[in-house]
Symmetry: C2
DNA sequence: AGCCTGATGGCAGTTACTGACATCAGGAGG
DNA sequence: CCTCCTGATGTCAGTAACTGCCATCAGGCT
């Protein structure tokens, strides 16, 4: 066994979600989270830039998966088609986890404006990355940014509907495809 | 003359933009801003919930104008047409101000992730308000949210292009109309 | 055996914010 | 003219989010 208990980062994430759910975000201090994870406040801030970031630890992975999927779409695919591939990948990754956990996380995020802000920033980061890939595929501006942004809107809307929905509701991928179809039909 | 110099709020906004530009957001304390405006730190936080908010004082006005314009679009107009009306109103209001001031503000916001985050939150707030109006017009979900979000994307992209552009470049309204046309053409 | 590395702890300092209470010019009513 | 009240401001103390700096020390490398 190593010098320390393994996966400090994961323990911090778990403790944070628990405490944010129980006592609320504002009523939870970084020191409390660290303590529950068997660490100190200082170590918390080595793993996460701030109190909010601890809820978004998986963000780079999701971004990379989406970007890879968009990049691997067939040449012939239009911008929205390519973005659709990215949404498939996102649905596959996010759909793996338990829906009740996603719901718990959403509840916490929705209950605090600062956390909501951070989520928007993450979506914007994804969108910027997607737009970059689209440009590499020959899509110009502002089309690339708009297609990417539209895709993240679809993801957000679908994710919300999916989490709100019953445990036996439609799969995340289906929800996203449906939303994307409606976006295209907009006049 | 009143007991205090008038327009504390405006003085705080002006001082903040000046200091954020000169020394940077992180290197500016709320006390410094207040002091430059002839006030105290405590009064700063009575006028603005936090250090970022001072750059977004005009936000409710813009939101209300956009919402009013969307609401007053003809019954026959589709969601994106109605959103287009809102963009016209936004362009009219934002185009009034001096382009160099807008550029200064954008520069500050772009230089700090936290400020960027707040701007995204404001756009999301506008979008939520627009979606509400669209639903009143009989647009369902998720169409209302997606149309509203798309409109805010267009506004953001156009505003950026307009601010980046030369002083004698196209008017803001024209830039937005152009961007909206391109969004509709997306496939 | 000696050295290096990387994750952690300890500690002091700054500053963003908050709550409670004090102040006091000017307006409203007498 | 006097009095009371209101609302914007000031003062002060307190919490907690971060940050920089230095210390520690098991395990791996040479």
């Amino acid at each position: 066994m190593g010098r320390w208990k393994p996966d400090s980062r994961g323990r911090l994430e778990e403790a944070a979600l628990t405490l944010y759910s129980q006592r609320g975000f504002d009523q939870t201090t970084a020191a409390q989270i660290a303590s529950m994870a068997g660490l100190t406040e200082r170590t918390f801030f080595r793993h996460f830039a701030d109190k909010r970031e601890v809820l978004f630890g998986g963000s780079p992975i999701l971004r990379d998966r989406i970007v890879a999927a968009v990049a691997s779409a067939p040449e012939s695919a239009g911008p929205l088609d390519a973005v659709g591939k990215g949404l498939d990948a996102a649905a596959a990754l996010l759909g793996e986890g338990r829906r009740d956990l996603a719901r718990k996380r959403f509840t916490v995020i929705a209950s605090n404006p600062g956390l909501h802000e951070r989520e928007l920033a993450k979506l914007a980061e994804y969108a910027a990355a997607i737009a970059g890939v689209l440009r590499l595929r020959g899509v110009g501006e502002p089309e690339a940014s708009m297609a990417a942004d539209a895709g993240m809107t679809v993801m957000r809307v679908a994710l919300q509907a999916w989490a709100d929905d019953d445990e036996r509701g439609p799969e995340l991928g289906a929800v996203m495809e449906n939303a994307l179809r409606k976006l295209r039909a907009l006049r």
